[in-house]
Symmetry: C2
Subunit: 199 residues, 2 copies
């Protein structure tokens, strides 16, 4: 969260910011900010504030974002294709190293500069590339089996877009983005704007 705030400040050209100003900007408590950031090291200078670039770089290092993370994508339908072509997944921090599908019509085709491989080759690619991140863009019924495949291969964190409940295994965490749930929250908000609350 701090990194996101600092990035916003960077895009605005802010070089230094006090904990009070940061608190106001991002609706946080200034004492909490000072406490949290002190845990990372000596970044605040009394009366001057924080150096935005230095602090952002330090947080990036702490989060391991100064390394390259190999990503494998399972499911090369529209969503998997969209994600594979995503500019943020072709860069130094995140780099797609393999695309996989079970559909023989897709295997062998080229997407985002990668040849789509059969899921049988997933474990080998993960072993060769050291990829630790996986993206699941498969239909709901295939989600668990695909997750298990990633977990077996040694992937430690999975981003799941299938609207399915994944049974998580030790060592391979899952973060699911369920578009339906997000839309439900949005729908509720749009109604709240339309109709004055009665409760």
């Amino acid at each position: 969260m701090y990194l996101r705030c600092l990035r916003k400040l960077q895009t605005e050209g802010v070089e230094r910011i006090s904990s009070n100003a940061m608190a106001q900007r991002f609706h946080l408590s200034s004492s909490q900010i000072r406490k949290d950031l002190a845990a990372f090291g000596e970044f605040g200078i009394r009366g001057v504030g924080y150096e935005v670039d230095a602090l952002a770089n330090h947080l990036r290092e702490l989060m391991g974002l100064d390394r390259t993370h190999g990503v494998v994508v399972v499911g090369v339908g529209n969503l998997g294709t969209a994600l594979s072509r995503f500019p943020g997944l072709q860069r130094d921090t995140f780099r797609v190293v393999g695309l996989f599908d079970t559909d023989p019509a897709k295997v062998g085709s080229e997407v985002a500069g990668h040849v789509v491989r059969p899921t049988e080759e997933l474990a080998d690619v993960v072993a060769e590339t050291g990829a630790r991140l996986g993206i699941l863009a498969v239909p709901a019924p295939a989600a668990q089996a695909s997750y298990d495949l990633l977990a077996d291969a040694g992937v430690t964190a999975v981003l799941n877009f299938a609207p399915a409940q994944i049974k998580e295994r030790a060592g391979t965490s899952v973060r699911s983005i369920d578009i339906r749930v997000v839309l439900e929250e949005l729908a509720h908000r749009s109604i709240a704007l339309d109709v004055p609350p009665t409760i």
Copy 2:
């Protein structure tokens, strides 16, 4: 959140549940559950618990999920196409009513049963259909202008997938899903699993 918990119970065939059992299942406080759910009406029966179906239906109504919400999608690239074909957006609760793009090569083509229209027709379609939800699946540089178009047309809630900061206007809330930020959190988690913390 309660609706999500109740749905999970429904898929497991649970018909009744006590606040204590619900608290244990979902890592909540039972007194908070009783307080929250009491605000919606008289659903809990002392010594019996909550009727899962009745409570879920009531929450669905409260959230406006018993109505049909028209959704317009701006940007019909891979991501927009994937979202438009998403089964959850062809149903009674959420229904795609229009796809829009600025690319003349895409306008006029058919995607997910809809003819892609030029963005100039967005306001008319929103007026005709009463759609209040919009999905932004455009490249980052086009995000703000597309959001403004949706806001001008009367859309009240926007789900944004472009990795861009949207300047929100009164009456049209935005929820952004930034894949990069999600991946950064995942990367950090995968490192935390790999390397023992040193702090």
